[in-house]
Amino acid sequence: MRLSLRAKVARPVAALLLTALVLLPSALPASAADPLILRVGTGQKLATLNPWHSITVADYEIFQLQYEMLVSFGQNLEPVAGFADKWESSSDKMTHTFHIREGMVWSDGEPATCEDARWTYQFVLDAVASETGYVGSGYLEPYLMNAGLKSVTCTDPQTLVVATEFPTTLLTQAYVPILPKHIWSKYTMEQIGNADAKGFFANEPPVVGSGPYTAVQWEPGQFIRFARNDKYWGKRGVPDEIIFQTFSDPVSMVPALKSGELDYVRGIGADQFDALKTEPNIKTVEGFSNGYTYLSFNTRGNQKGYQGSTSALADVKFRDALGYAIDHQKLVDAVFNGHAVPGTTHVPPYHVKWHVEPATPRTFDIAEANRRLDAAGYARNAAGNRVDKEGKEIVLRLTWPDSEAGHSTDAQFIQGWFKELGIGVDAFVTEEAKLSADLLGPEAGGPANWDMYMWGWTGDPDPMSLLSFFTTDNIKSGTNDAFFSNARYDELFKLQQRATDEVQRHAYIDEMQQIFYDAAAYSILYYDSELHAYRTDKFGGWTSQPPDSGTPLFGYGYPGYLALTNAALASPSPSAAPSAAAPSASAGAATPAPSGGGTGTPASGDSGMLILLAVVAVVAVVVVGLVLARRRSGSSQEEE
């Protein structure tokens, strides 16, 4: 058969294309000699390697892998050896001695001594004493200042002595990375703290650290790659490398986890989280997050200097009554498919040791809310709407920052419930920066021009910061955005800060939660959950921190990374992994998973369906096209 010129060209091209198609994928999977890499996906940006600029959970995760804290956190959040291997406090708990591990070195081989720790703590003291009063993002200094840090000295290369203003046990929870003095002391405070200063120290890789892994590569906007620090004093981690990959849209992490391009993801939506539960070799984990979402009230109402819309907001009886008209469980179900916990007090249940439930919780009951409003003297007018003591109809403004778009669902529910009380709600979103400015009261130079708003707070390993937001002092700083002021609360804050006996401190913190709850300045809507997922076919040994209510990674310290095992070596019997990974057998039975391989995962139900649909669509288009063409050519022939 003779080939036309076209066919002569087309055949080799087609052959080439086919070969390319076959070759391309085979080039992708890693060969056996490649390092064992743990790949972690996060929706948060990886913004900095300079810990003083850390803000987000991802930022913290980055620095705590490479820098030890003086005392670190264990699997149960207990204090464990970090930069120091032993510590003790004087009997008055105002002098604290830390023994720095002997023979420890930084990843560049320089000795790591007391002087590094002293320099770091002194840097914090200097920053607080400076003109600005903070360094970088200002997030790290409070850990030491809340513990009353006064002075710090080295009595010998292995002994750090810290003096505090008052008795404290909080130094073992100080979330401050100890930095290598021989690197950092070369820069001024301005160069470390001010990102646009001349000669800013971005701490580019390779980073010199003391933790189990140190950063060796940073592609801003994409990923940070860590390599195991062979100089690390403790247990050798199983992954040779760890890569944190950032995603603009967390949804994109899900296919990457399914295909095995990621081993761990943090920050996926509730829908995807539920969908991942049935995937083979993938396990989902829901942990308490150390924070909450709240509805704040402008508790100064329309007092002089405050621009709330009604005096009723300043009345605790009014706010208390509204609390009965909020169905927290309903919000959790509607917004998170049930993946959150209805809120009560401002110390979230993440703090298992400190969280208490209020003595008289406000349970959802519209009738009760109406009764309480009647009793408090907020009568309905002829139109059925509640009026305040000045006879003005109550219509409350409810807003939230545009960065928290999900709150529009919360707002719709609240609007509906308050309507049943005869109270109108004008719900709208506000640009975040504008909201931040509107919220401030006259004490902080703002207009306090709002009635109710929703946002969230995140805490630390110790409840100290969450408690501190609502002292009277902090009205001026803006964290006390409800303008809550209670002399007993302020007193208790100082007492618990200085309490060295845990039982005693517990009693103080209990009372603080109760006072804040009763004042109804905040309605804690819910405690958000941390929704994570990970693959079980590459790494095993996933351990949550704390084991029953936390997540394996993105906790405090780095125990989760060191607990990992190589799944290929750990489980010689192939049956172990699937049975642990896939609790529901129905989906797995339909599409049996090939063991090993690794090139890709089999088409799951969803994508199999899609492929089928795509094929049907293409065939349909071709057939319809052909039929139309035929009819058309037929008719044109008739015309001729």
């Binding site: 198609l21 391309l24 994928p25 080039a27 992708l28 890693a30 890499i37 790949r39 940006k45 913004a47 300079n50 003109e131 009063g133 903070y134 993002s137 200002g138 997030y139 001010n194 990102a195 971005a202 590569q217 801003p220 906007g221 994409q222 990923f223 490398e241 890569i243 990959q245 995603f247 603009s248 849209d249 994109s252 296919p255 399914k258 295909s259 391009e261 960065s403 920066a433 504008k434 931040s436 400015a437 902090n474 700083s477 964290t479 090139t599 995962t601 799951s604 969803d606 994508s607 899609l610 492929i611 795509a614 288009v621 319809v624 096209g625 063409a629 035929r630 058309r632 050519s633 044109s636």
Partner: protein, 325 residues
């Protein structure tokens, strides 16, 4: 006449760019909220003094006009777009430059593919109007044209990545990979590029093919084509020499203008495939309120559109002498 036409076009473009620079200043200052609050975020313990300090440091204590405006014009003219809030310590120009490459690669290749395939398909369909190729090609073109990028991208992702496992699902290169030779890099890049490139190209092919087809169909009814045929020229010669040059005119405009919108189009494709280009940068900057970077992206985008238009005008002038007057 030629230089007059050129001068007028260039002058218009320059004037537009100046207006864009001014608008960029006004737009970002007109936003609600105070920049120092964005800078400080919800930092605990912010006092009035700290706020004042921050304002002074960023020059926000000076009047908007003339001080801030003059400073802005000055630094913009020098190519200094300030510092990114989010990528701490990095100049905006550096951030933009870093993300520009991947976007140009993806959309440059996408455009070339789409131009070659789209125009070929379009002219062939137009030439063989009523043939099976025309019907099928037109139907597919319409579907592709009307399908949003992200939907097309997600479908490809589900079928070829998570489904068949042929291609990686995200990124431009495998993070942390070590390569023995340039071929490995090319293969890795090619694997990552395949699906986003297919998405971009398919979307554009539809658009170009439809326009090219209708343009060819229109041209074929012109007298000069009939004349050419009557003179006994072969079909493909009539198509190439007589019909196509005239049919190309509207397509050139579309392609040139499209080039300017490359970045805008990039957003959804890049986000779906987590491609590290200007699209993901824009989304990230929006989410983190990185106004200096957003301002830079706006400037780059609008200047790109202006230049693409200028390019189209000039090219048009070359192709069609009638518009030069």
């Amino acid at each position: 006449m030629g230089s007059r036409y050129l001068l007028r076009r260039v002058a218009t473009a320059c004037f537009t760019i100046v207006m864009i620079v001014v608008l960029n200043f006004v737009l970002f200052r007109a936003m609600p909220g105070s920049p120092e609050r964005i800078l400080l975020g919800r930092m605990p313990g912010v006092t009035a003094e700290v706020l004042a300090q921050t304002r002074a440091r960023w020059g926000l204590d000076k009047p908007l006009f003339p001080d801030q405006f003059v400073a802005y014009l000055n630094s913009t003219a020098q190519g200094d777009l300030g510092f990114s809030y989010a990528a701490r310590g990095r100049p905006v120009t550096e951030v933009l430059a870093q993300h520009l490459g991947p976007t140009l690669l993806l959309f440059g290749l996408g455009e070339i593919l789409a131009i070659v395939l789209g125009l070929t398909l379009g002219s062939y369909s137009g030439w063989k109007r009523g043939s099976p190729v025309d019907y099928v090609g037109n139907a597919i073109s319409l579907i592709l044209y009307s399908m949003p990028y992200f939907l097309l991208g997600m479908a490809l992702l589900l079928i070829f990545s998570t489904g068949a496992g042929w291609f990686p699902t995200f990124g431009m290169l495998t993070a942390g990979a070590t390569y023995d030779n340039p071929l490995d890099v090319a293969l890795d890049l090619g694997g990552h590029l395949a699906l986003p490139l297919a998405t971009v190209a398919l979307g554009l092919i539809g658009q170009y093919a439809i326009l090219m087809r209708s343009s060819v169909v229109e041209t074929l009814s012109e007298d000069y084509v009939t004349t050419a045929r009557a003179m006994g020229f072969r079909d493909d010669r009539v198509l190439r020499r007589h019909a196509l040059p005239n049919a190309m005119l509207p397509t050139v405009t579309l392609v040139a203008i499209n080039l300017g919108y490359v970045v805008a189009g990039a957003i959804t494709v890049e986000v779906v495939f987590n491609w590290p280009g200007l699209g993901t940068l824009t989304v990230d900057a929006l989410a983190s309120r990185d106004y200096p970077v957003l301002q830079g992206v706006f400037l780059l985008l609008s200047v790109a559109v202006v230049f693409a238009n200028l390019g189209a005008d000039l090219l048009y002038g070359v192709l069609d002498p009638r518009v030069r007057t």
